[in-house]
C-alpha cells in the first residue's frame, strides 16, 4: 500500500527470504550433497553415485519399499476410519458447531507425537490394556504380540498419529462447498452411496489427496514411530537417514533424503494435475 517506503516495504518479505535461505536451499542442495564423496567424518565435493548404489543394493532399499507399503496401508485405514467423520460433521452437524467439533481432533494433535506414540506401548504391549482386557474376558489365553514391535504396530501407530489430519483435510476441502449441493443430492433422490461416490468424493478430492500425501510422507519420514513401536530392524526412510547421520555417512543420508523428497514432489505433482490442489485454499482467500 502507498505509504510504506524503504525499509517498511521490504520487511514483509523477511519470512519468504528466510524460507528460501533455510528451507528451499538446503532441500535443493540435498541432491547435490548426495553425490559428494564420503570422508571419515564428513564429505568432500565430488560426483559419485556411491551412496545411491549403497542404498539400492542393501537391505535399506527393501525396507524403504516396505515402509512405503505400510504407510500406504496407514493412509487407507485413516481414510476409511476418518473421512466418514469429516463428511458427517460437514453434512449433519449444525454449521456453527462444525468448527468446534473439528477442534476436538486438534486435541490429540496438540499432545506431542512422542507421547502419543510412546503411549501405544502400554496399550498394545504384552501386558498392556488390550491384552489384559482380551485375556480377562477370555477371548485369548496368551497375549497377542503381533500388534507391537511389528509392522502392524507401526501401521497402528501411524494411523493413530495422523488420523486427525485426514479429518481436517477432508473437512477443509468440503468446507467451501455450499449446503445446497447436498440438498440437491437429496432432492434428486441420489442414495447415500451414489452421493458419496459422485458428489462428495470429487469435491473433496483435493483435500483427501493432500491429507493422504501428508500422512504418507510423514509415515515414511517420521523416525519416531518405527523407533518406538516397530521393534528391531523396523525402519523407514526417516529412521535410515537418522542412522546414517549418526554413523557420519552424510552422503548416504542426503541420498535417501533426495529420494524421499523426489517421491514427495512426484506425488504432489500428480495430485495437482489430477485434482488442482489449490482448491483447498479457497476458504483462506
Amino acid at each position: 500500500m502507498l505509504g510504506e517506503d524503504g525499509l517498511q516495504k521490504w520487511v514483509f518479505y523477511i519470512p519468504v527470504v528466510f524460507l528460501c535461505l533455510f528451507f528451499v536451499v538446503p532441500v535443493a542442495l540435498t541432491s547435490v550433497w548426495s553425490v559428494f564423496e564420503r570422508t571419515t567424518f564428513w564429505m568432500e565435493p565430488g560426483f559419485t553415485f556411491f551412496a545411491y548404489q549403497n542404498f539400492f543394493t542393501s537391505a535399506r532399499a527393501e525396507n524403504y519399499l516396505f515402509s512405503m507399503i505400510h504407510s500406504a496401508w496407514a493412509v487407507l485405514i485413516s481414510f476409511v476410519l476418518g473421512f466418514p467423520i469429516a463428511v458427517f460433521v460437514r453434512r449433519r452437524v449444525p454449521r456453527v458447531a462444525q468448527h468446534r467439533v473439528i477442534l476436538l481432533f486438534i486435541l490429540p494433535f496438540m499432545i506431542s507425537e512422542l507421547v502419543r506414540v510412546f503411549a501405544m506401548r502400554p496399550v498394545l504391549g504384552r501386558y498392556g490394556i488390550i491384552n489384559n482386557f482380551l485375556m480377562q474376558i477370555g477371548i485369548i489365553n496368551e497375549p497377542i504380540t503381533v500388534i507391537l514391535f511389528s509392522p502392524l504396530g507401526v501401521i497402528i501407530g501411524d494411523v493413530l498419529s495422523f488420523l486427525p489430519f485426514m479429518v481436517f483435510a477432508g473437512f477443509l476441502s468440503m468446507e467451501a462447498v455450499q449446503n445446497y449441493i447436498f440438498e440437491v443430492c437429496d432432492d434428486l433422490g441420489a442414495g447415500p452411496v451414489r452421493t458419496f461416490r459422485d458428489v462428495i468424493v470429487p469435491l473433496a478430492a483435493p483435500g483427501i489427496f493432500a491429507g493422504s500425501v501428508f500422512i504418507f510422507v510423514n509415515g515414511i519420514g517420521s523416525a519416531l514411530v518405527p523407533i518406538i513401536l516397530g521393534g528391531p530392524g523396523a525402519v523407514n526412510a526417516g529412521l535410515i537417514v537418522n542412522q546414517a547421520i549418526v554413523a557420519l555417512d552424510f552422503p548416504l543420508a542426503m541420498a535417501i533424503s533426495t529420494i524421499m523428497i523426489a517421491t514427495l514432489a512426484t506425488l504432489l505433482l500428480i495430485g495437482h494435475r489430477l485434482f488442482d490442489l489449490t482448491k483447498i485454499l479457497e476458504p483462506i482467500n
Binding site: M1, G3, F23, L104, L114, A119, P122, G221, I284
Partner: protein, 296 residues
C-alpha cells in the same frame, strides 16, 4: 442440516462413532497419565496414587535444566515466528503470486522432521566451513562459524517447522478483518504502523494469540529436528526420547510424558475456553446489533 427424514438413530450412531475415535486417540495418553501417578509404575498389580514420580522429575537438576532449555527455545520461537507469520500473511494479501507463495509457505509441512533436520544439519556444517575458509582467506577474525550447532540452529529448525502453522492461523484470522479499517485510519492521519497498532491489531489480537499458543505447544513437543540441530544442550523431549530408547520406560519417563501432556492440554483448554467466551460475547453483540433500530 439435519433433515427431518433422516433417522435419529443414524445420527446418534454417527456421533457415537465420532466420539469413539476421539476417545481412541486420546485414551492412550490418559492411560499414560494414569500410570504416571502409580507408585509402582507400569504393569504393577496394585495401584497406589502418588505424586512421587513428578517430584523425582522436578527435583532432578538435569531434567529441570532441560525443561529450561525447552522453555527458552519455545519463547524464542514464538518471538520470531509470530511476527513472521504476520508479515507473511500481510504479504499474501497483497501479492499477485498467491499460489507460488502459499506453496512456499506450506511446503515445510510436507517434509518430514528427520529429513528436514538432516538437510539443515549438513547445510549448517557446510556454511560454517565456508565462512571459516572465507574468513581465513580475507583475514577477518570475526567471520567464524556462525551456524555452529547450538541454540541458533535449533531455533532455525523450529521456525521452519512452525511457520506454516502460524501463517495459516493468522491468515484465517485476518480474513475476517476489513481492510477499510486500515484505510480509514490512514485517512485520519495515521502512519502504517499506527494504523496497525491502534486499529488492526486490537481486532486480530485473539487470532495472533492463538497462533502464538499453537507455536509454543508445537515447539514444546518437538523432538526430532531439535535432536539433530541442538548441539550442546538437551530439551525435555530429547531427554525423554533418549530415556525411552536407552533406559526403557521408567516411572520418571511416564511422569515426564505426563508433564508434557498436562501442559499441552492445559494450554489448549485455556485457548478453547477463551475462544468460546469471546464468541459468546461477540454473539451477544451481534444479536444486539440485529435488533431493529429506528431508521434515523
Amino acid at each position: 442440516m439435519r433433515d427431518d427424514f433422516s433417522s435419529e438413530w443414524g445420527y446418534r450412531a454417527k456421533w457415537a462413532y465420532l466420539l469413539t475415535i476421539v476417545g481412541a486417540l486420546l485414551a492412550p495418553v490418559f492411560y499414560v497419565i494414569y500410570i504416571s501417578f502409580n507408585e509402582l509404575g507400569f504393569g504393577a498389580r496394585v495401584y497406589k496414587f502418588t505424586f512421587d514420580w513428578y517430584r523425582v522429575v522436578l527435583g532432578d537438576t538435569m531434567l529441570v535444566g532441560s525443561l529450561k532449555w525447552t522453555v527458552y527455545l519455545a519463547l524464542a520461537v514464538v518471538a520470531t515466528t509470530v511476527p513472521m507469520g504476520l508479515f507473511s500473511a500481510k504479504l499474501y494479501k497483497r501479492t499477485r503470486h498467491k499460489v507460488l507463495m502459499v506453496t512456499l509457505m506450506l511446503a515445510p509441512l510436507f517434509v518430514p522432521a528427520d529429513i528436514m533436520g538432516s538437510a539443515l544439519l549438513v547445510y549448517f556444517k557446510h556454511l560454517n566451513r565456508t565462512f571459516e575458509t572465507i574468513g581465513e582467506a580475507i583475514g577477518a577474525d570475526w567471520m567464524t562459524a556462525w551456524f555452529e550447532l547450538g541454540f541458533l540452529t535449533a531455533l532455525i529448525g523450529q521456525i521452519i517447522y512452525t511457520l506454516p502453522y502460524a501463517f495459516v492461523v493468522i491468515l484465517i484470522t485476518m480474513s475476517r478483518y476489513r481492510p477499510q479499517q486500515t484505510e480509514a485510519a490512514r485517512a485520519c492521519g495515521a502512519t502504517a504502523w499506527q494504523a496497525f497498532c491502534q486499529v488492526e491489531f486490537p481486532q486480530i489480537r485473539a487470532g495472533v494469540f492463538s497462533a502464538a499458543a499453537f507455536v509454543v505447544i508445537l515447539s514444546f513437543n518437538e523432538a526430532p529436528r531439535t535432536a539433530l540441530l541442538k548441539g550442546g544442550f538437551d530439551t525435555f523431549s530429547n531427554v525423554l526420547v533418549s530415556q525411552m530408547l536407552n533406559v526403557g520406560m521408567s516411572g520418571e519417563s511416564y511422569a515426564m510424558a505426563g508433564i508434557m501432556s498436562i501442559v499441552a492440554m492445559t494450554a489448549v483448554g485455556a485457548i478453547l475456553i477463551y475462544t468460546m467466551i469471546r464468541t459468546e460475547r461477540l454473539d451477544r453483540r451481534a444479536r444486539a446489533a440485529a435488533e431493529p433500530v429506528m431508521s434515523t
